[in-house]
């Protein structure tokens, strides 16, 4: 691993899922930051400059759509790819996610392979694109 380790901000209020995903991501070799509510996610997203955010929708304090919208509407943070996680696999939720500017969308429960392949795809895309100034 020649290049610096990628940092992923993991946002979910489900302690168990955070534990499991944390283990998975660290095992692949990512640095993992954790936020457990919307406001915390926003703060860390702005201050820690992660390479990717995995963002649950139903969060305390501020929902995932709003966090996503706020980050995506700010030029400084909009290049950070956001992967939304939703526990409600309805078309309407997918549309809302798209409208909020999310880069990808995954319905819970997902297969780990799916999650990992999407993370890799998003990181690759943001590397070739214009990255933070």
């Amino acid at each position: 691993m020649a290049e610096p380790r990628k940092t992923i901000l993991l946002v979910d209020d489900e302690e168990d899922l955070v534990l499991a995903l944390n283990a998975r991501l660290k095992n692949i070799g990512y640095e993992v930051l954790v936020a457990r509510d919307g406001l915390e996610a926003l703060r860390q997203g702005r201050s820690q400059n992660p390479d990717l955010i995995i963002l649950d929708i139903m969060l305390p304090k501020m929902d995932g759509y709003k966090v996503c919208r706020l980050l995506k509407s700010d030029k400084r943070y909009s290049p950070i790819p956001i992967l939304l996680l939703s526990a409600r696999g309805q078309d309407r939720d997918r549309d809302l996610g798209k409208k909020a500017g999310a880069d990808d969308y995954l319905v819970k429960p997902f297969k780990s392979e799916d999650l990992v392949s999407r993370i890799k795809k998003l990181l690759k895309k943001s590397k070739t694109g214009v990255k933070h100034v």
């Binding site: 499991a20 409600r88 429960p109 780990s112």
Partner: protein, 572 residues
């Protein structure tokens, strides 16, 4: 009623005794009178040269007069009698009519639903008292006013549409939101039927409206409940699934083969649970008619090949041959690709599940008349004839000697058939136990939608046309308002794209005229404008917010708007 009216006539005719008496009486009188006249005129007649027969002739004449006057008297008596009877009958039946009208009035007033009639200008004629209970207004104030004024803005288009449908002889059933006098919304379920005059011409609309606000609220609650439950169920499943795969992947430490195998079963069952939750959501949505189709023109060759490709790995793993049989050219269909993929996935998944090792599954398609027929054939266990319809019911699984380890909740085929039905297609199965099954479904072939372009700038029209035609639209053009209206009536397009600023008749006027005509009032419109939009004026024209695009037009947005409007206009 008819029988009773005939009765008096029949009675007078049947009194033969009376008739005979009257004829005899008159014959006698006539004969005497004839004889007397004969005696008086005898001298005169003799001069004319008549012989001995004169007496006989006089008697005969007398007899004839007698018979004739006898019948005449009988007829008069009959008429008088039947007239009397008729008057009596009419009196009685009008009394009955009055009674039945009172009964009707009573029913009308005491009905549990609003009952009303409208004239051909959509104005209230009659309204029952329930109107006041449900909506709070005094009905007298509404007689003569337009029914549309009662309706919440975004339902008005529907109200207009169904009103015209009824005037054309239809009996539509639909839902509308009306405004209570205090300002809140009342959900109404309506059943319309045309009112006809005795000549059979339609002279108005009768409507029965039921207040369904309560059940609507319940439905919403149920919806939120389902959405909530599905969320609550998915969350723990996600954590379970993730922990299981962590262990399977050996991240916390190496597992034995057996441990790994068992954990794979755990993961497979979690996936199964997740699928069941998905299907339950879909079923509850179809029940409420909440599935919306996002239709596009699709190339079924490509779609079928792609879905089949996704299953190749699973088929190989089970030692099954999975192949496609597709002709080089298939007609295009206008359908929701996600939903059709779901149907195919379901059928192929089933075929793989119920076909033993070394079996064969074939997916094919062919043109059949105006439809595209798609099939999934397997040489698996087959289905007993008695079960062939049952398998499409919800929660139906055929329990037999062939237990399959990877079961579902028995919703897949019910959902698939529903999806095909939403596309106005059909699904059925042909099967022989022990030999295999073929699941078929048919989808109607695409009819390219008609689009009418209206702009006074021929260059722009040409540009839109060049853009739309390769997208399989049939494009018609009009360069002013008059022409647009003529084309709209003649071609009945599926969509009108309308410039607002035009000489002579502007876009607003065109919309107004389109809405006035029952043949064109339902055609969706997309507005193109270089300036702002007079929404007030559009509201006044009875239109809900029309999609509008601002010039210069972004072609991508343009196409998207066209596709969206056409997809929404497709009745589910």
């Amino acid at each position: 009623m008819k029988k009773k009216l005939l009765h008096p006539l029949r009675r007078t005719l049947t009194t033969r005794k009376q008739l005979t008496r009257m004829v005899l009486e008159n014959t006698l009188v006539g004969t005497i009178m004839g004889t007397l006249v004969g005696v008086m005129l005898r001298g005169y007649l003799r001069n004319l040269g008549n012989l001995n027969l004169d007496w006989v002739i006089f008697v005969l004449i007398g007899l004839a007069i007698g018979i004739f006057s006898g019948f005449e008297r009988e007829r008069k008596v009959c008429l008088q009698q039947s007239e009397k009877e008729l008057v009596k009958e009419i009196r009685e039946s009008s009394k009955e009519l009055q009674k039945s009208e009172e009964r009707f009035k009573d029913l009308f007033e005491r009905a549990n639903d609003i009952i009303f009639t409208l004239d051909t200008e959509s104005r209230f004629v009659e309204i029952n008292s329930k109107f006041e209970d449900i909506l709070g207004y005094r009905r007298e104030e509404w007689k003569g006013r337009s029914f549309y004024d009662l309706i919440v803005g975004n339902c008005r288009d529907n109200a207009i549409k169904y009103y015209w449908e009824t005037l054309k002889g239809g009996t539509p059933r639909f839902e509308l939101d009306a405004i209570h006098i205090r300002g809140y919304t009342v959900n109404l379920a309506l059943a319309n039927s045309p009112v006809r005059n005795p000549e059979g011409e339609i002279v108005g609309v009768m409507g029965i409206a039921r207040d369904i606000s309560e059940s609507k609220k319940l439905e919403e609650l149920q919806n939120r409940f389902i959405s909530h439950v599905s969320h609550e169920l998915r969350t723990p499943l996600t954590a379970m699934r993730e922990f299981a795969s962590l262990l399977i992947d050996g991240i916390p430490g190496k597992l034995t083969k057996e441990q790994e195998h068992y954990l794979e079963r755990v993961a497979a069952n979690i996936d199964r649970l997740a699928r069941i939750i998905d299907n339950l959501l879909v079923i509850s949505k179809t029940e409420e008619g909440k599935i919306t189709l996002e239709k596009k023109l699709i190339d079924m060759r490509e779609l079928i090949s792609r879905v089949a490709e996704d299953f190749q790995a699973a088929a190989r793993k089970k030692g099954l041959e999975l192949q496609t049989s597709l002709p080089a050219v298939l007609p295009e269909i206008y359908a929701d690709p996600d939903k059709i993929t779901q149907v195919l996935t379901n059928l192929i998944g089933n075929a793989l599940k119920f076909t033993p090792r070394e079996g064969e599954v074939e997916i094919g398609a062919q043109k059949k008349g105006d439809e595209l027929e798609i099939w999934v054939r397997d040489n698996g266990i087959g289905i007993e004839p008695a079960d062939q319809e049952k398998i499409f019911d919800r929660f139906q699984q055929i329990r037999g000697e062939h237990q399959v380890s990877d079961k579902g909740a028995g919703l897949g085929l019910a959902i698939s058939r529903e999806m095909v039905r939403l596309h106005r297609g059909r699904m059925w199965v042909e099967s022989e136990p022990g030999k295999g099954s073929v699941f078929y479904f048919c989808l109607p072939r695409a009819q390219a939608p008609k689009v009418l372009l209206v702009d006074d700038d021929p260059d722009l029209v040409e540009m839109y046309k060049d853009f739309l035609e390769p997208q399989h639209y049939r494009v018609y053009a009009a360069y002013n308002g008059e022409e647009a209206l003529m084309q709209a009536v003649k071609e009945h397009p599926d969509l009108i794209i309308l410039d607002i600023v035009m000489p002579k008749m502007n876009g607003y006027e065109v919309i107004g005229r389109l809405k006035e005509n029952r043949d064109t009032c339902e055609i969706p419109v997309i507005i193109l404008t270089g300036y702002g939009l007079d929404q007030e004026r559009l509201n006044f024209l009875g239109s809900r917010a029309l999609p509008a695009l601002y010039k210069p037009i972004n072609m991508k947005e343009f196409l998207q708007a066209v596709n969206e409007v056409l997809a929404a206009g497709e009745p589910a």
